[in-house]
Subunit: 327 residues, 2 copies
């Protein structure tokens, strides 16, 4: 990979001198934000947008953030009509994980022989579709802990957090992951590499897999309403226990107190609508498979009973069918 | 009770000669329909309405039905401001079973020393609240198998069915139940007495308890969408199995093939929205406790695991809270 060669890297967290060319595929709220961070660190940031390309090309991104004004003009802005320029050092995919979106096909045109791919996306088991289609490129899997949303074309509101957890997929810490984490840290966000990104995904799924679909089925409700409804905390805990059982059967046992700690942390937060609840309320597509369906599929493969998760999944599918979308 | 005394009844299904005075408390679609049937049979039918009293007093009920034109003028129409006239032979309660409605208080003013009470209402364990408040009156519990709805003030559409199953509560066939069934049959609907109305309620709950809340949570979906969604039939069957387990623990084992038969019957019907789905779509209150909550409560008391029913109940409660109604 270009950075490694140019930087003459060895051990440790030494910063590369070569500024990487980064292409962000899917510069929605998440992609635009992390693009700002990398550009702040000195990277050349190019963005690929499905919509809003004209606005962003003209005005750049306007990003309100507790970190300050993160507004920036990307080095290049590509819309659906533009010809891709291959050979990025990093192609960072921030597209939603949906059944009808072929992420590998969106990533491929930007790759060169030395390119690494990074996925900053929610969910479990979201890597294989990309890894199998593009096996010759180092794959970095990353989790974003962030509250950020799109207010309008090119307008992003970063409300809180921003921490990233990265790792090579399926495991280990690659040089590419380490380099990318350093660029993020140089741009001002906490970005840590972990030996097992799959374990990190299970740990995040423990909360996401129950809370997201429960919120949607409760009409996009927030965390306080969810936990304060009689039976609500019991349902959340029981569904989390099902996730833990699948994680353990998959070889990733989570700590015994993981459920307690998640519930306590949720109770300490102010009322909060998770990303799927927000997507639901805005009429956007929901990442059901990534967040919930892949866990249920794994449970079935491993022979773990998940009656609550299965109920949630089926109800959401029915809703999608009833509303005339997928399902 | 008046009928019995006047009729000098003995064994068998001999018709009484005395026309009973019937007060229908809650003459919505169901109450208005069965009032029409009883008036057709020769009973004196009086109705108590929360809304629509002025319209019905002026024009009577207009009822389209496959049985013909069932439009009628009740012998008396009472609104919330009118003074009750006690001493009915039968007080028939067709009010929805909701936590904030005190049905015994609505029934009491119409009772005399000889009055029998009949409940034509959905759900399980809906009788104790009335029986405990009004212990000195024979209590008839009845299930209606009917598709009927209100089109507007005083306007009712009877689409199909109409069969009644009656019994004394908690068990047996009382003379009052038999008499009332005869009046319904004389009016043209099939009305059968059963030795165990609680068993009949369990048998009806087998379908209602899962299908009603599942439909609501799937945004008021119909039976075909519910069963055709991947995982939908499996969810319905698994939730029905939970109902069967509670019924058996309660002393009412249902036949082994009850689930298969219910699913097959549902598949033979055209796409159908159940009563709770219709209430949900119309923004009306949902009979959650009667249909689902009382089954879950019984399961908890009897130590039967009902993860899917509990999930459904909690999600519906959250929705109610989120929308600012009860929960």
């Amino acid at each position: 990979m270009a950075i490694g060669r140019h930087a003459g890297h060895g051990a440790g967290r030494r910063m590369t001198t070569h500024a990487p060319r980064v292409v962000i595929v899917g510069a929605g709220a998440i992609g635009a934000f992390y693009g700002a961070i990398l550009q702040r660190a000195g990277a050349r940031v190019e963005v690929v947008l499905r919509s809003d390309a004209a606005v962003v090309r003209e005005r750049g991104f306007c990003i309100d953030s507790p970190l300050g004004d993160l507004s920036y003009r990307p080095a290049a802005v590509y819309g659906p009509e533009d010809t891709p320029v291959p050979g990025a050092d990093f192609v960072i995919c921030c597209v939603k994980v949906l059944p009808d979106i072929d992420r590998a096909a969106l990533i491929a045109p930007w790759l060169g022989p030395q390119s690494a791919i990074a996925l900053i996306e929610n969910g479990l088991d979201i890597e294989p579709a990309v890894a199998e289609a593009l096996p010759d490129h180092p794959l970095i899997s990353a989790l974003a802990f962030i509250a950020v949303s799109r207010r309008g074309p090119g307008e992003i509101e970063h409300r809180a957090y921003g921490r990233l957890t990265l790792g090579a997929w399926p495991q280990g810490v690659s040089e590419e992951a380490r380099q990318l984490a350093q660029w993020f840290e140089a741009g001002g966000v906490d970005a840590k590499c972990r030996e097992s990104i799959v374990r990190e995904r299970w740990a995040k799924s423990l909360w996401n897999t129950p809370f997201n679909p429960i919120s949607v089925l409760a009409d996009g409700t927030d965390t306080v309403t969810l936990l304060e409804t009689p039976g609500g905390e019991a349902l959340a805990r029981a569904a989390m226990a099902e996730v833990m059982a699948v994680a353990a059967a998959d070889g990733y046992p989570l700590p015994d107190d993981a459920i307690d700690r998640n519930i306590e942390a949720t109770r300490r937060m102010p009322a909060y609508r998770n990303s799927m609840a927000l997507d639901y309320r805005a009429g956007r597509a929901l990442e059901i498979d990534a967040i919930l369906g892949n866990v249920v599929t794994k449970a079935e493969r491993l022979g773990v009973a998940v009656p609550r998760l299965h109920t949630l999944q089926t109800l959401i599918r029915m809703r999608a069918r009833e509303s005339g979308s997928i399902g």
